[in-house]
């Protein structure tokens, strides 16, 4: 099946005072129709930057230096900003992290909700308003007529996030990118919002990229998972493969650092150290300094992608045939 979106060898850099930050260093992934891909990783690993790149929202001092983003056969990195605007909101739309700041405080819900329809789809205000009410009902907002007249500050956080989601859906896009959509919300609201995403997907068959550091969200939502570390995807596979058959020390450490109800005796292990400085990214594997199974080669040479099984790939020197002994040690360990 032809994928909806295909990201190839994407590199993104930021020009900063002290030099160049290589935020994304060559990532590849695809998303099929109706699929949900979760990109997980610590903050600063490049997951949000990647999603902004798909949205065409990287601007100065950031720059896509290499690679392509193929969406429905078009390379988005080659579009002019005017052409890109025809994609934004209509084909691909985005839900941002903090609903408290994502809405303009000085404009009514109505004017923010329908502006996409009016300016992008050239609808009349009356038709657009009808559409808006329909979408608000969809995302579970009661009294949509009333809500349209209100300002963001008059609504609760959960309600605002529903508005943001409604805004993202109103032009019926094919791909929805959700950047930490539940992080800023109360736990009880989080579950409701995730349910909302699921019901939307069932109804419309929309593809979703969800960016998160919350493995709970991943477990609930994802079909496939991409684990990012220091600007690279270190492991990618189906939810099952990554959760239960991971062979990357970073993924395993990540899973280990989460409280799990099924393993009462399990001791929680934080990952020690911090990610490398992306001003001068390491020559070898970026995880080497925090990896309990680091070998000399890890520090010297960047590991290549290897296929563990169908649809499950990984970037780690432990997959090399010469590293059999250390790999065994890892698999046997608690990590």
């Amino acid at each position: 099946m032809e994928p909806l979106l295909e990201v190839k060898q994407l590199h993104i850099q930021f020009q900063a005072h002290g030099g160049t930050v290589k935020a994304v260093r060559g990532i590849d992934f695809t998303i099929g129709k109706g699929e949900t891909l979760a990109i997980v990783g610590e903050s600063g690993c490049g997951k949000s930057v990647s999603s902004l790149a798909i949205m065409g929202l990287i601007d100065h001092p950031g720059k896509i230096t290499n690679g392509s983003i193929i969406f429905k056969g078009k390379d988005l990195t080659r579009l002019t900003s005017k052409e890109m605007r025809k994609v934004q909101g209509i084909d691909i739309s985005m839900v941002f992290q903090d609903p408290m700041t994502a809405l303009n405080p000085t404009l009514t819900i109505e004017s923010q909700l329908i502006e996409g329809l009016i300016h992008q789809k050239k609808m009349s205000k009356r038709v657009a308003k009808k559409e808006a009410i329909k979408v608000l009902e969809w995302v579970g907002i009661s009294n949509p007529h009333e809500r349209l007249k209100q300002y963001p500050h008059q609504l609760s956080g959960g309600m605002r996030q529903r508005i943001v989601i409604a805004m993202a859906l109103i032009c019926e896009p094919d791909l929805l990118i959700a950047d930490e959509p539940t992080t800023a919300l109360d736990v009880t609201i989080q579950a409701q919002i995730l349910d909302l995403f699921e019901s939307i997907q069932k109804r419309t068959g929309i593809s979703i990229v969800i960016i998160t550091h919350d493995l709970g969200v991943v477990a609930k939502m994802a079909d496939r998972i991409a684990v990012m570390y220091a600007g690279r995807i270190v492991e990618m596979g189906s939810k099952r493969q990554v959760f239960y058959h991971s062979e990357h020390p970073y993924t395993r450490a990540l899973l280990n650092s989460v409280v799990r109800l099924d393993q009462t005796s399990h001791s929680l292990k934080p990952i020690e150290g911090s990610p490398p400085d992306l001003f001068s990214p390491p020559k070898g594997c970026a995880f080497v300094d925090r990896c309990p199974f680091a070998m000399e080669v890890c520090g010297r040479v960047q590991p290549q992608k290897s296929r563990l099984r169908e649809g499950h790939q990984i970037e780690c020197w432990l997959q090399d045939t010469r590293a059999v002994a250390v790999r065994k040690e890892m698999l046997a360990s608690q990590l």
């Binding site: 390491p282 300094d289 680091a294 000399e296 080669v297 040479v301 040690e329």
Partner: protein, 317 residues
């Protein structure tokens, strides 16, 4: 970072088999910060040095201060010296900036005017520092009723058109340098008080201040150790920007005939006296005071902007 990375990247077939052993723990160095982290003040100074316009302002101000001190001394003429034989002379070796309609030496009077302007600016900045900072600091730190009373007072002062008040003061106290200073003292510090109060209110709720309060540090110590260092940048910027507005106020009043009185010279009075020079063509009479007042205000404004940028609290980590 790890010493191994210093080596060249070997090509794939150069990868040696013995590299596939688990690394010794001692082998991996402790990670340290690789970029040199400048201290905040050093960084600010560095950023200021980079700003050409601000450096121009700083150098201009220093030179002006030197000339304000030395200029009148260097000249053989006094401020009030008049010579009817030497009226309206254009700039020459004898009178570097020419003479005015009463035959007074414009060079001497210009630097005398610089003295007045810099004095007024400096005093206004000091008033800002003492009254404004203390008032705003108390208001913000004490909070509650004290804060709301102090802020109401400021609001009323703010509602008063400031130059109008200054003018009224002139009427009461009679024109002169002293009155200008008193009048500026009464009205000039409210902006600073507001800024300091805002800063203090914000900082008061920061964790590190809360922490030192919960350890029972006395108020004064908190003010000295936490609040002042964190507010000082904004205070410096505000002081720098107070100077040009005070200089303007003095020149404005003197121009209206309400400030410095003859025979003393201020850039404002000189500009006023030479208004007719526009028609007579004695351009130097207007040019020098006009040039120096504009340049001085420009210098302080760009320096203030530069400081604001250099001391930007957002750059503070």
């Amino acid at each position: 970072m790890s010493a191994m990375r210093i080596d060249e990247v070997p090509s794939t077939n150069e990868i040696k088999d013995e590299w596939f052993k688990k690394r010794n723990v001692e082998n991996s160095d402790v990670e340290d910060i690789t970029r040199p982290s400048l201290s905040y003040w050093k960084g600010a100074w560095y950023r200021l040095l980079q700003n050409k316009l601000a450096m121009f302002g700083l150098i201009f101000i220093i030179l002006l201060a030197i000339m304000a001190i030395l200029g009148p001394v260097m000249s053989k003429y006094s401020v009030s010296y008049q010579s009817l034989q030497e009226q309206n002379l254009s700039p020459s070796m004898k009178h570097w900036f020419g003479t005015d309609d009463l035959g007074r030496d414009v060079f001497t009077r210009t630097w005398y005017g610089a003295r007045i302007s810099l004095t007024v600016g400096l005093l206004a900045a000091l008033v800002d520092l003492f009254i404004g900072v203390i008032y705003g600091g108390i208001s913000g730190y004490k909070g509650g009723t004290v804060d709301s009373v102090l802020m109401r007072i400021i609001e009323i002062l703010y509602g008063l058109p400031y130059l109008l008040v200054v003018i009224l003061m002139m009427v009461v106290m009679g024109p002169g340098l002293f009155t200008v200073i008193v009048a500026l003292t009464i009205t000039g510090w409210t902006g600073m008080a507001r800024i300091v109060r805002g800063q203090v209110l914000q900082l008061k709720n920061y964790e590190f201040v809360l922490a030192s309060r919960s350890f029972g540090s006395p108020t004064l110590r908190i003010v000295k150790k936490d609040l002042i260092p964190n507010t000082i940048g904004q205070i410096i910027v505000q002081m720098t920007l107070t100077v040009p507005s005070a200089i303007f106020a003095e020149a404005f009043l003197s121009f209206l005939g309400l400030g410095i009185q003859a025979p003393f010279a201020s850039w404002g009075t000189m500009a006023n006296d030479s208004l007719s020079a526009i028609l007579t063509g004695y351009w130097w009479q207007l040019f020098f005071p006009a040039f120096f007042i504009s340049m001085t205000m420009f210098a302080f404004n760009v320096l203030g902007d530069g400081l604001q940028h250099a001391l930007d609290p957002k750059l503070r980590r």
